[in-house]
Assembly symmetry: C2
Homo-oligomer: 299 residues x 2
């Protein structure tokens, strides 16, 4: 089955202690869509400006991403610029030019409205609501978020949570949302806000799922060299939803392996600037890392 991905489509200018790369293809929807494309047909909804490079449209197409929901508007594409510290964990935003993204309203082509798997990638909760308002009985909806929305749009986010099946956030966001220091206590609190599945991402420490069948401790794939972690979380949830949408059987019986595949997608993302490494990956390489993770966790 297909997966619908709605989120930001952006140009990222990224600086690390080792290199600087301007105007890479970025945004939550771009990272998630490319990661999901290894497993499932992807329909993307987003907005770019007239300045959006043709090579990035070609890149989406290379991954057979359906772009009927990609709006191309007069004006500039959302441009984000950030700089990482030496440890590659802390980053600071140097610049945010919203451009056409400022007035973005996700509009779903009719043929997208019945897609069973829906990823509301990181984007304002009001827009995530607007997407759900247009959908007809999706089978499985997952929402991602970021600290910004916890700060400026918490009521919208709290209204969204009962409308989604799964909610994905990182550990510091879980702490911000629940005021709980303990990640398992935080998971319990977030369930009470609505979602049956809650996933807390912990970067290089992996992630934790809490769902109807209990918890799953998902490892991160071991990386000796992180080139650029931008988009790793988006790749994780994109890979997860892509895998889930094409697996036979129930969500319950597939979600653990889906997380593992998301974890592998995130590992490739970190190995290059922007999407440069991810777009060179094939399914065999993904499967190899999945098998490695099996070996790395077996006891």
């Amino acid at each position: 089955m297909s997966v619908l991905i709605v989120g930001s489509t952006a140009l990222d200018s990224i600086k690390t202690p080792h290199a600087e790369n301007p105007r890479l293809l970025g945004g939550s929807a771009s990272h998630a869509a490319v990661a999901a494309s290894f497993f499932a047909p992807v329909k993307l909804v987003g907005v770019v400006g007239a300045d959006f490079p043709k090579k990035y449209v070609a890149l989406y197409k290379k991954h057979r991403i359906d772009l009927e929901g990609l709006q191309i508007q007069e004006g500039k594409t959302f441009h984000w610029s950030g700089e990482y510290e030496v440890n590659m964990n802390n980053r600071r935003t140097l610049l945010t030019e919203l451009g056409v993204f400022e007035k973005f309203t996700p509009h779903l082509p009719d043929k997208f409205k019945r897609i069973p798997f829906v990823l509301l990638a990181n984007i304002a909760p009001a827009l995530q609501h607007h997407v759900l308002d247009q959908m007809t009985r999706p089978k499985f909806v997952v929402a991602d978020t970021m600290d910004l929305w916890l700060n400026i749009a918490l009521p919208d986010l709290l209204r969204l949570l009962p409308r989604v099946d799964g909610f994905v956030l990182n550990d510091s966001e879980a702490h911000q949302l629940t005021k709980q220091d303990n990640v398992f206590a935080a998971l319990r609190t977030i369930h009470k806000l609505g979602p049956r599945y809650v996933i807390i991402k912990k970067g290089s420490h992996g992630s934790i799922l809490s769902g109807p069948k209990g918890c799953f401790i998902c490892p991160a794939y071991p990386l000796h060299n992180v080139v650029d972690p931008t988009g790793a979380g988006d790749s994780f949830v994109g890979g997860l939803m892509g895998y889930l949408s094409t697996s036979r059987g129930s969500v319950d019986s597939n979600i653990r392996r889906a997380m593992i595949h998301g974890s592998v997608a995130a590992s490739f993302c970190c190995e290059g600037f922007g999407l440069t490494r991810t777009t060179r990956v094939n399914r065999a390489e993904i499967n190899r890392r999945v098998r490695e993770l099996e070996k790395l966790t077996k006891f």
Copy 2:
């Protein structure tokens, strides 16, 4: 087979945001010995003062810990006092009274000198050397350490590493020792310093082993409520060595399950002040958590 454990034996006065407990049984050797005692006969080497409470001697004995190597000297027992912050991760030392520990020289009774499994629990590297100098061809030696020794006794520690089979340290210590931010890069660097097995502890994020058969990503047991993490790392390595010393087959084939058992021992340690929870545990409870960890990581 037996395991020999040499380290500190202390009284810990511990303050958390929720409670305060004075003069609990503590020290690296105490925590490691009690954790190991669930799996193997333990021989302890340490020093206490004349003020050492009889109830703590009884506690060691309840765990069938051989105390022939426990020196009782005129003077006061090593007393440490610390306070945890709300998140239960950061702590500050309020007081350190070395007492008889200041002039401690570990002296091994003859019958301890041929014990095959040796845990050099956290203690000055010079004393860890002194223990090894007295041993006759031990089968498997593991050393633990702490940031203090990296700061004030690094040359001694660097001379120790080629003498041990395994080295255990936490992630911040690994960073301090190797200047590497990446944990897998740090593991590689530490191998070059000598040990064939290197384990980096990451607290609630679990631990990572690097050994001749590759890496193992070991989960922490999920805890909803951490009462007092003091001694968790010591319990981990104590449980690991206890399990390893009584398992049939090679270290290579047992070390992953040994880490899992160490992880479970550490989880019990965190659930009570000092050793209060650990001493009430039985092997069936340990096995139950091991099985839970199997379920929590299976995919």
